[in-house]
């Protein structure tokens, strides 16, 4: 009987906690439409302002299409919306109707957001299989010379700047690739898995790593820019925000760092109550930060002091907040959507109609 009880307890413990992918795609606004993932593996479109429901992908009739979960916010053109699914597919969806245009299968889940080059009509997708794929945005065919292979998973968005594509990999390297041919131009070995989306500002790429450091790579000299990269108590997973010569970098230790882009020195820090994975957002002079447990902070961007009282959404938040007009949309992990007024700190729940 003891064995039975033990077995049952252990199994109950195991099953209660078995993780399933839910996704943390940040909502995206493009040409008057909002694209948001409110349920695991589904992308919905709404008209901004009236919040009229437009479509949902996959629809009721797409029983064979199962993205499982969407981690990277979609990218949109005038006629199509693209996103990567946890099932390893890159999906192209008709912007007007939400129907499937094409899909392309990679060999691993896609966690990184996609990058889009509208001028060449190329969608760049980084996969957990360690490869970066360049796809023709019209039909999803793989461009010649691609994919480019790294030695680790890729969870960070490829960063496109002109003809150069920067790729931060979990193998600890930042790669610079020719965006057309897929040829490697150079690489910088940081030595620790690069997990955050890289950001380019003033010829410097800022990227977070799992060795608890935030790195700045000088693109011209192809060397680390900061002599002593700032070290926190946990990983820099949130995408840093660079405004002027200040880097705002939240950390999973619950601290928001404001650093000098020039030398990485700490300007101020703010201690949130919980780890922060979502990218901060600057609205006027207020830096909006949302921690993992859904507490929203409004910080004075210059000093780090709180501009208004904390708001508790009482829900887990891992997705990046998105500006819509003069407000901020926050999508909780359970699919609830909130609207924040960054001036007053007032939060309202936004009831988006669902089919």
């Amino acid at each position: 009987m003891m064995a039975l009880l033990a077995g049952l307890s252990l199994l109950a413990t195991a099953c209660a906690a078995a993780a399933t992918p839910r996704g943390w795609a940040s909502p995206v606004v493009s040409q008057g439409q909002l694209y948001v993932s409110l349920e695991a593996g589904r992308l919905s479109a709404y008209e901004v302002g009236s919040w009229r429901f437009l479509w949902r992908f996959p629809g009721q009739n797409d029983s064979k299409v199962r993205p499982q979960a969407i981690y990277g916010g979609p990218v949109a053109t005038a006629d199509a919306v693209y996103f990567g699914g946890y099932d390893g597919n890159v999906y192209a969806v008709d912007r007007a109707q939400g129907g499937l245009r094409w899909r392309f299968k990679t060999d691993g889940p896609i966690i990184a957001p996609l990058a889009l080059d509208e001028s060449s009509g190329t969608v760049y997708a980084a996969s957990d299989d360690g490869r970066v794929y360049a796809l023709d945005s019209r039909d999803g065919t793989l461009r010649p010379g691609w994919p480019f292979r790294t030695d680790g998973s890729i969870w960070a968005r490829p960063l496109l700047d002109g003809n150069t594509l920067y790729v931060a990999s979990m193998d600890g390297k930042l790669y610079a690739l020719d965006a057309i041919s897929g040829r490697k131009l150079w690489e910088v070995d940081v030595g620790a898995g690069l997990v955050s989306n890289p950001v380019l500002a003033d010829d410097t790429i800022v990227v977070g790593a799992v060795d608890r450091r935030l790195y700045a790579v000088d693109v011209s000299s192809r060397r680390l820019k900061w002599p002593s990269p700032p070290r926190a108590d946990n990983w820099f997973w949130a995408e840093p925000l660079v405004v002027g010569d200040v880097v705002y970098a939240p950390n999973l230790d619950g601290t928001v760092y404001a650093l000098s882009l020039a030398d990485g020195s700490v300007l101020w820090t703010f201690a949130a109550q919980n780890p922060v994975r979502a990218r901060p957002l600057l609205m006027g002079q207020v830096l909006v930060v949302v921690d993992r447990e859904g507490i929203v902070y409004g910080l004075d961007a210059a000093t780090g002091s709180e501009a208004w009282g904390r708001q508790d959404l009482l829900r887990r938040v891992l997705a990046d907040p998105t500006p819509v007009d003069d407000q901020v949309l926050i999508v909780a992990h359970d699919g609830n959507v909130f609207r924040l007024d960054p001036d007053s700190g007032q939060v309202q729940r936004l009831d988006l109609p669902r089919p």
Binding site: G7, A19, W24, L318
Partner: protein, 313 residues
């Protein structure tokens, strides 16, 4: 009864063993109190987090093969808790050794009170604690739960689980280099259930063997107990098959390895002749085999009820 003929003394009967248990318990209490005072979650800080970090360490030592890390870590943990496991099995074995006399007493004394007195006398005389197998199991219980929690955090596989993992890893760069953990091992994706059914079937078969072999030394004394054992012997493997189909394969791999080790320990404790392999492999024992040592066939429920009724008179 001479000392030589006595069954193995088991359980925390020895004064030293009891003191060690108490000391360990006191240390755990002090550590839990101190951790709680420091504002940290004692369960994770003292039990789950060390196991998570140990597992990641194993992963790195074994060249990033997380499947191998689970196998070796299971071996390691079973090695650490081996004295307790052996004690538990020895207790079962010792209880089995006195079963003929237990059944004699049960036959001889119809009055429950007298029967109980005689049984207690027998246990004292034989130096056997009937609850001796419980204490080692109770001590291992938190370790199992913590190990499960650690495995779940690590084999979750999905990005949300990796965010959670970041809160459990110690600040040692050697450990970070494992992130993200390699989820593929043999045909398995350790973060997902095995869709090929191979692992669930293996877990089911080994759970069945483990159940049967670990109770090889024990004998059901009543038809009810026998029936319960039979039900458990079938229910537990089926339950584990079902759960293996639902949980990440990494957990199934742990169950598989743990079961195989348990069968090995049983073989070591009971010896080659101590395990009746025919009985192990049969889902339902032959009627004559149920009261091994007692020399009487299984009685029907009705017959048993009749005997109880007569005993009351």
């Amino acid at each position: 009864m001479t000392d030589r003929n006595r069954p193995t003394t088991v359980g925390p009967a020895g004064a030293l063993g009891r003191r060690l248990y108490l000391l360990l318990l006191a240390l755990v209490f002090v550590a839990v109190f101190a951790t709680a005072q420091a504002g940290r979650d004692p369960w994770h800080t003292l039990f789950v987090d060390p196991l998570i970090n140990f597992l990641v360490l194993f992963n790195n030592v074994l060249l990033g093969q997380f499947g191998l890390a689970i196998i070796f870590f299971t071996l390691f943990m079973r090695l650490v808790t081996l004295p307790l496991t052996i004690r538990q099995f020895q207790s079962t074995k010792a209880m089995s050794a006195i079963q003929p006399r237990v059944q004699e007493i049960q036959k001889k004394y119809k009055d429950p009170k007298r029967r109980q007195e005689e049984l207690m006398k027998l246990y004292q005389e034989a130096g056997v604690n009937p609850l001796g197998c419980l204490m080692p199991m109770l001590i291992q219980f938190p370790v199992w739960i913590a190990l499960y929690r650690a495995l779940i955090v690590l084999v979750g596989g999905v990005p949300e689980a990796v965010v959670d993992l970041s809160q459990h890893l110690y600040p040692w760069s050697y450990l970070y280099s494992a992130i993200p953990l390699e989820q593929h091992f043999l045909w398995l994706n350790l973060g997902r259930p095995d869709a090929t059914f191979v692992l669930p079937i293996l877990v089911g078969v080994t759970t069945y063997l483990q159940q049967k072999v670990s109770t090889a030394g024990s004998t059901a004394t009543t038809p009810e107990q026998q029936q319960m054992n039979q039900t458990l012997n079938l229910m537990m493997p089926l339950m584990f098959v079902w759960f293996t189909l639902a949980v990440p394969s990494g957990l199934g791999l742990y169950w598989l390895v743990s079961n195989v080790i348990s069968v090995g320990i049983s073989y070591f404790v009971y010896g080659k002749r101590g395990i009746d392999w025919r009985r192990v492999l049969l889902p339902f024992p032959e009627p004559a085999a149920t009261a091994r040592g007692a020399g009487r066939p299984t009685s029907s429920r009705r017959g048993d009820h009749e005997r109880r009724r007569r005993g009351k008179r």
